[in-house]
Symmetry: C2
Subunit: 343 residues, 2 copies
Amino acid sequence: MKQGQIPTLKQIAKRLKLSTSTVSRALKDHPSIGLVTTMRVKKLAAELNYEPDNRAIFFKQQKTFTIGVVLPNLSEAFFSTAISAIEDMATAHNYTVILGQSLDDEARELKILESFKKHRVDGIIVSLSKNTNNFDFIETFQKMNIPVVFFDCVPDREDVYRIVSDLETGMIEAINTFVSCGHNRIALINGPESLLASKQREEGFIKGLKSNDINVNRDYIFHTNLSEKGNQEAVEELLSLVDRPSAVICFSDYVTLDAMKLVREKGLVINQDIFFISFANFPIWNHIENKPMASIEQFPGKQAEKAAEILFDLIKEDETNKGNHIIYPSRLIHLDSSKQTSL
Amino acid sequence: MKQGQIPTLKQIAKRLKLSTSTVSRALKDHPSIGLVTTMRVKKLAAELNYEPDNRAIFFKQQKTFTIGVVLPNLSEAFFSTAISAIEDMATAHNYTVILGQSLDDEARELKILESFKKHRVDGIIVSLSKNTNNFDFIETFQKMNIPVVFFDCVPDREDVYRIVSDLETGMIEAINTFVSCGHNRIALINGPESLLASKQREEGFIKGLKSNDINVNRDYIFHTNLSEKGNQEAVEELLSLVDRPSAVICFSDYVTLDAMKLVREKGLVINQDIFFISFANFPIWNHIENKPMASIEQFPGKQAEKAAEILFDLIKEDETNKGNHIIYPSRLIHLDSSKQTSL
DNA sequence: CTGTTAGCGCATTCAT
DNA sequence: ATGAATGCGCTAACAG
């Protein structure tokens, strides 16, 4: 009574006095099956609401038509945009997506990867947790022939497929913008030093300053572990400098939110006493007073889409070495600040 | 050479000169297998890095140990909190989660459900798109014995499992708060009339006014389709009333963001000329100047967790009719407004 | 305590 | 153009 309803190939075959193979082929428009038979089969299949049982197909084909995606945090607009892009690509390829949030916790990330492995996903897309230091899992999946593609937060190794945003372009635009507004005391609140993303920001920062003939002052480079507390500590330090910076570039929009909050509490006026530019360009800025001057767009959708594209190529074993390091430029987006100075 | 590495039960059995069933049982600590044998099997399995092939297990057990979740939009904090809760529950039950975003598009929602059906998920959790009117899919899944649980945005039918937040409690608190601050011209910017959630808000609104002996003025109830344009139109109307409301309750924090933006552009000062309370309580308020007075928390995590709990009960066929309509109270959260009036 | 056997639903190879 | 036979990896009923 339970599953009695769900029709199988065999049932269709019996009802039509055909063999399962004929039915199977008819359903797939195999050329060697007669038109009449094909029609009869399809008709009954439609009537019975037949659906092939994916479980059997997965088993037979040694595939699951499923990819796994590990992200730090869905609540960040950056990643929800990314996952939407991946989902769309997956749908287009007739794949489904299983998901895990690492919440920037290395152990949790590993558990998710474990579960993907057990699930026998056909491929994996990862944007690393900010605290991941152990990359042994890469070898594990290599051995199992499960392709892995990284994006955004990627390991600092050459032997992987990875897609990143070139943070230098946006960073240099940011500095040029600040300089053209007359700033020369420009600070950077950077992320954890272990991150490739932080390294790249710092390189761009220094390059940008140099190209504007500004001395690089190491005291103007701060680091945060990206927690609210860490962000505030960095800002406290920054504000207590005798020669306080007038312009600040933050690792991300979240860092900027924390920074601006503290700055306001200290009685300083944003976009008057101190100016901000940050990374990520999240959509909410347009609804906020006293936003940063600009934010650097990293095109999460594009990055994720490319990651999915490469992954599906790898799954299809088109191992056309189309370069396993893709870099997209980032771009500075000026936020409408017409209301900012009117306060 | 490809899959040659991946060990199976059979291989372990051959190497150990045992039968596959013995190996299978040993790996599961079946009591009828001798300790020595169990040890030998486990040792070799560990050496070979054996992992059972879920595809075969799915097939054999007629299950996928996978649940599907359909949500409107991952980028809303409400839903990303919800999905985290579901994920945690799923992990605890050894299940994986496949995900789809409807983006409030009925057709897209249906496609996602289709794909879940093909994937033979063991159960489904849905928070409906704001534009869904056709609920035929409920019958389809019923027929296939795939349990479905709704939360937050649920169908207005009795014969389904659903978990919602009781919007009335929060709504009444909101009105009481406004009244105690001296407001009596209180407006509601509500969502689409077709939504159960809108209906409930309106009921609470009217109840709250009545209990405070305030006449219900129908002109103070507005509707928006929740698009930015719709939100703004509602606010335009509201502001153009001769007897302009001094206090506004909005359908959600997103509506409030749009509303406050427009209000500012009109030169009005928030928390002085006009006051807001809204639904959802998203985390970013604490980082924003000129936030609403309060926001009504709907506990997405709790709702989602409960939905998952019920779903897993249904999957296990513990069809203990533990009530298929669960309601959690909502609660007004006062936002720290110390900085608000100091501008 | 351990082995043998059968079968889940489907795709496929080999016959006819 | 169609059918029969096989096997994917695993579990479980049955047999010893």
